[in-house]
Amino acid sequence: MASPATVRAAASPAAGADALEVENLDVVYKVRGRDRQVLSGLSFRIGRGEAYGLVGESGCGKSTAALAAVRYLPRNGRVSAGRIRVDGRDLLAMGPGDLRTLRAKSVSMVYQDPGRALNPSIKVGHQLAEVFEFAGMARKESLDRSVAMLERVRIVDPGRVMERYPHQLSGGMQQRVSIAMALATNPALLILDEPTTGLDVTVEAEVLDLVEQLRGEFRTSILFISHNLAVVARLCERVGVLYAGKLVEEGPTASVFNDPRHPYSVGLLRCLPRRGRRKDHGRLDTIPGFLPLPGSVAQGCIFADRCGLADDHCREREPALTGLGGRASRCHYPDRAPDLPRVMPADAPMAAKLPANAKPILSIRNLSKTFVSGGHAVAALRDVNLDLMPGETVGLVGESGSGKTTLARLLLGLTAPDKGGSIILDGDALPAALVGRSSKQVKQLQIVFQNPDSALNRSHTVRGLIGRAITKLAGIKGADMVSRLLELTRVVRLADRYLAAKPRQLSGGLKQRVAIARAFAGDPRVVVCDEPTSALDVSVQAAILNLLADLQAMQGVSYVFISHDLGVVRYLADRIAVLYLGRLMQVGTAEQVFAGPYHPYTEALLSAIPTLEGRQPERIRLTGEIPSAINPPKGCVFHTRCPHKIGPICEAQEPPLTEIAGGDFVRCHIPVADLPRAQATA
């Protein structure tokens, strides 16, 4: 079987017992009376003070591994073979009392959604103090310790935070509190299960910084679980790539990510829109096929079906996890892995160049939206001007609460804008409300929503979902409708056999294809894409991005592409608009926005993105939270967090959006020459 001996010799940072040692672990879930194996023969170890990353796509068993490590599997799950040692002690042999002590003292876990991990009806201070009280401290002492703990997770004004309920804190603050609770007992092992997945990039960067610093202070070992390779690259010394319940590759993070030796790792890394990659440079590579159901591959390599290098040997004999000098790969041909053939042809269909005198398909003028909430006026969007050319993609970026989705809803007519602004589609002013728009205008402006589970009616079939859109938007009925339906499904690469399926029978990527087909039913001119890939795995994300790029090249459609993932935006967008508190801070071509000179906010956003290419030389950190839109800062709205604030003028006067280069606008008081620019290494 696996040869952990070589792996073990590779990284042994400290003497004594390992913080976590997992050996040949099998975990099964009982589903409808049958056992399904979700983890098979999983072996890995985390040394003292080491950070170990476990990566893989959804359904590969990451979270199960984490839950097994604290013996917290759901009721239908059990460890059927193998050993787990925490701090040298056999976890599986422990009685309930020992287990409770272990969970209280030696192992802590931080979950993905801090909002659900904290008790909503108990004040933060009391929740935290409880951890100390449980360890045997007096009330007074535990409260003092709690304040100190909140300080250590860099919470300003911990006394005030102690008195708050979880819902009164932002997502980033909640996650800090969870981390404080987890570290309160100074555990030997900290398990972080996708701790930054729901957070904005700027907040994610802060949380990762914090974990990194605390690791130095507490010397805690970390098991870090994430689907985001870049986040793992930032934090972990060693990484294991999990696929269908088996470790397929393991080694030092830098070598695995820069020189992967398993075709799955190679494919996964190619799916990512890496720095500087754009749609006109070619399509992203993808991994064909689907993750096999746990335990369904009886013979041969579990990845053989999806692997471009697989031969008969791979399909017959299962490779063992073989040591490669400090690292290991579960492949018969680890040396050939980097030569994995591309699935997508590298050449991309190029969109026709715009004539110089082209008119914008969509123009937004002085668009504002003020909500009234509890007697307060909340300016969700202020005075936005934007043009969209035919066949062009404008990327909308900004933290949550910056007004991206509000802008999308105004464009679609789902929300009425304030008086005074206008939206012009193809030369004609669009009525503000959806009911006032002509059917032509409605079909020309469509949307792909973020979450296909919410956007597709779960009681309709795929045929019904797309067919209805064709009937209503394109006005086609009968046999013509059927042929158009088949054409559309072919274009979005959805096999015919899915037509009778309901959304819940489809994977996330397939659902999003249905949603895209529906948006394209009436040959739209403009499609708003509201974070269309944020719920998807990277390999699926790559396929959807390719599809969007192909559709644009074929049909000349324009996109308003909303995303918090700047790598994705960079791949697809021709121009980028940066929003902060409902105001445009910078608008320019993708090259201009990514290369600088930047608005200080753009600079901070860009530097917050973790990259696979190791550490960035200097990170610009935004301190504090995005201010409330109920009471936005006077003057420049960004001045409260701006690292380049130049003086009182920033607090007194809102800067205008000025053109600093052809087509590149920045809203800042700093003179153009002094604006931050790209760092040499970026």
Binding site: R283, T286, I287, P288, G289, F290, P292, L293, S296, D305, V343, M344, P345, D347, A348, P349, L412, L414, L434, S439, V442, Q446, I447, F449, Q450, N451, S454, A455, L456, N457, R458, S459, H460, T461, R463, R468, A469, K472, R490, R493, L494, A495, R497, Y498, A500, A501, K502, Q505, L506, S507, G509, L510, R513, S539, V540, A543, N546, L547, D550, M554
Partner: protein, 301 residues
């Protein structure tokens, strides 16, 4: 052009839960039914209710006596080999009357519940979907109706309209509609925030289409449960109204009516004139509620 090349997603082979054929809806119901069939609660409920439905349909063919036939020689005869459940003050066979007595109540109560559910669903869809003025006005009316005791309102209405099976159906249906409307409204409120409703509006679907074709199929489960629970109440309501003389009219062998006619005799020791009818009502209500519980359990997963 790479558009026609096979991309991920169309690769044949393993696909997560891909179904063949167009019978997904039947499959879903089939799965739920299978689960129900394994539930002892559901089976017990079906057995009880099924028995009474059988009696309602075929009771007249199997009973030993005509339930309406008086026999002066066996007046108030206690249970015996001739009259298993005894005979009442007119000498009518109690067993035959209990069996056939299921007929009227099992016509009136389900019809009333069905009508009330349909009315309540439409009302709930309208208030939940439109919100605003429609919701404010209709919801206040619903609140006002709910604040009145159903039985009193029913009695007043039946006095004014005159008692007949039809009026009983309408009175109970109108009494239930606001209660069902509230349940439906709360389901609609959470459904309408989902993006598929926005997507339908972006196709310029009519509000009626969105309510009936988009939202309604997704809120059927709670409506189904509500229907079952209300059916239990409806049986009770019909029996109560009959007992008070405003429901099913003589000479029907209806249970509530029979109890009303005979409860004075219990003091004289003639318990059999009342007991079996009371057991019948109770068993039917219990049976219906067992089914409702089981369905709720399956739908909640």
């Amino acid at each position: 052009m790479s558009v026609t090349t096979t991309g991920p997603g169309t690769t044949p082979g393993t696909s997560p839960g891909a179904s063949s054929g167009g019978s997904t809806r039947f499959k879903e119901w089939g799965e739920n039914l299978q689960q129900l069939m394994r539930s002892p609660t559901f089976l017990a409920g079906v057995l009880i209710v099924g028995f009474w439905i059988f009696c309602a349909l075929f009771g007249t063919l199997i009973v030993p006596y005509d339930p309406l036939e008086t026999d002066l020689l066996s007046v108030l005869e206690p249970p015996s080999a001739d009259h298993w459940f005894g005979a009442d003050q007119l000498g009518r066979d109690v067993f035959s009357r209990v069996i056939v007595g299921s007929r009227d109540i099992l016509t009136v109560a389900p019809l009333a519940t069905l009508l009330g559910t349909i009315l309540g669903t439409l009302l709930g869809l309208a208030t939940g979907y439109f919100r605003g003025l429609v919701d404010d006005v209709l919801s206040r009316i619903i609140d006002a109706l709910l604040s009145l005791p159903t039985v009193i309102v029913g009695l007043v209405a039946l006095t004014a309209l005159g008692s007949s099976n039809t009026t009983v159906v309408f009175v109970i249906a109108f009494g239930f509609a606001p209660i069902i409307a509230r349940t439906v409204r709360s389901s609609v409120l959470s459904e309408r925030e989902l993006d598929y409703v926005a997507a339908a509006r972006l196709r310029r679907e009519s509000s009626l289409y969105i309510m009936l074709a988009e939202i309604l199929p997704n809120i059927l489960p709670p409506i189904l449960v509500e229907f079952n629970v209300r059916l239990g109440y409806a049986i009770f309501a019909v029996a109560t109204l009959s007992f008070m003389g405003f429901g099913i009219q003589p000479p029907s062998p209806d249970w509530g009516l029979t109890i009303s006619d005979n409860y004075g005799l219990v003091g004289g020791g003639y318990w059999w004139t009342v007991l079996y009818d009371a057991i019948a009502i109770a068993s039917l209500v219990v049976g219906v509620n067992l089914i409702a519980d089981a369905i709720q359990g399956v739908l909640d997963g």
